[in-house]
Amino acid sequence: MKNWFRLHLLALTRTIGSLFRHPLGSLLNLLVIGITTALPLALWTLIMSVSQISDQVSVEPELSVFLRHSATAEDVKGLQATLKADARWLKVEFIPKANALAALQANLGASDLTAGLAENPLPDAFVLQAKENDPAGLEALKKELSSIVIIEEVQLDSDWAERLARITDLGRAIFEVLASLLALALVLITGNAIRMQILTRRDEIEVAKLIGATDSFIRRPFMHAALVQGLLGGGVAVLIVWGLVAYVNPTVIELASAYGQSVSLLAPDALTIVVVCLASAVLCLIGASLAVSRYLYQFR
């Protein structure tokens, strides 16, 4: 057992040594593995970031109620009193049009937005939150509100959350297909890389077999190489996605804040990093194993 461990350790140090002996080839290999793995990881990061928004929204969906410009101050007061008295509402917030305009100006950073306008184009609005959040109930409430004369439009914000959730579902489906294809690609890529390594060590393998090497002795160094390359390649993928997130995040944050949202892409967390590195290592091991088995088979 101790000997087995020592043998593996020895082979592993040799593998890492040989990585440094062919730095360019190793680097190219790592980049190929890293880029292949980075594509699904980037998509996954995007999906997670987006679904985080829709999750946030759909927990406490709000109804935005926009009033007609023709509504008088008394109408508004009357409606506010009715809504407040209605036990089905958890929260009733009135947003006068002046406040809405001020908020918009603050968000857009455009102080002269209203300069050219004779009057405030925004309507008075209520933001409501229901006690019960089941979609059918919300839909009924929305209908009921729409029938009130002074109400121009009712928007259920879980509508777009729902739409966003649909999009992330689609994203997930695309992710699954893409990840499967690229997993296959990774197996083939490492299989081929290991096949090349085998060919350059053909003489050594032949002699070793002739003087009593078992198949696992032949297999071992290549599996180690695949393991190390897979783990490091996964690391490269994480670095690529990190760089990508850092690069596009300022733009995303700016864009989101224009819509009054605070949204940013999430960098891969520790668990994701571990899973990515392990997955890439396992796929590389499969590729290497296939390449070595195939070679050993035709060697007989």
């Binding site: 000997n3 087995w4 020592r6 043998l7 020895l10 003489d203 050594e204 032949e206 002699v207 070793a208 077999k209 002739l210 003087i211 009593g212 090497a213 078992t214 198949d215 002795f217 007989r300």
Partner: protein, 217 residues
Amino acid sequence: MIQFQQVSKSYPGGFDAIKNLSFEVPDGELVFLAGHSGAGKSTLLKLMAGIEKPSSGAVLLNGQNLARMSRASLPFVRRHIGLIFQDHKILYDRNVFDNVRLPLDIIGFDHMEGRRRVLAALDKVGLAGKEKLNPVSLSGGEQQRLCIARAVVHRPSILLADEPTANLDSDYAHDILELFKSFHQVGVTILISAHDESLMMDYGRRILRLKHGQFCA
């Protein structure tokens, strides 16, 4: 004990390299194998090591039929055999030390003890101090000695040497044969093939003479 029971070997293409040979080599014997080029010497040694399989008949090592052995157990049989190949099969991508070390790596030998063994084997064949050299920088005779060191480093009980004296002058060839004699003295079973029968005469050992795959007088 090595036994050949009516062994024939024909290579793909129908050429009979070995024709119906039966003989035995008891443990600890030193036997020479003589014959013209193409007589089947290398083929016979390869059959003994299980590198080639007989077309008919059986090759037995200590009573075990090599052809019946599982693929997984053949490597472990090979570890009891030291092989010196006619084409050397030296690895030129590593130094002399690492070439000799290969059989010990395969066995999974202890590192420090393995080091001592390699240096002892190199010393034995007269290559002490050359362990760091690349094999290309060795002379033909020295390369031959390197092959011998690699074949004996793991202390096999059988040594199969395919033309270890080829292309060497007769003094040097005798040096090499003396080396084999010293292994024989510690109980190793040895087969040595050569074209040149005159070299073997001085040793008074059994000589198997091959001609077109058959024994002749």
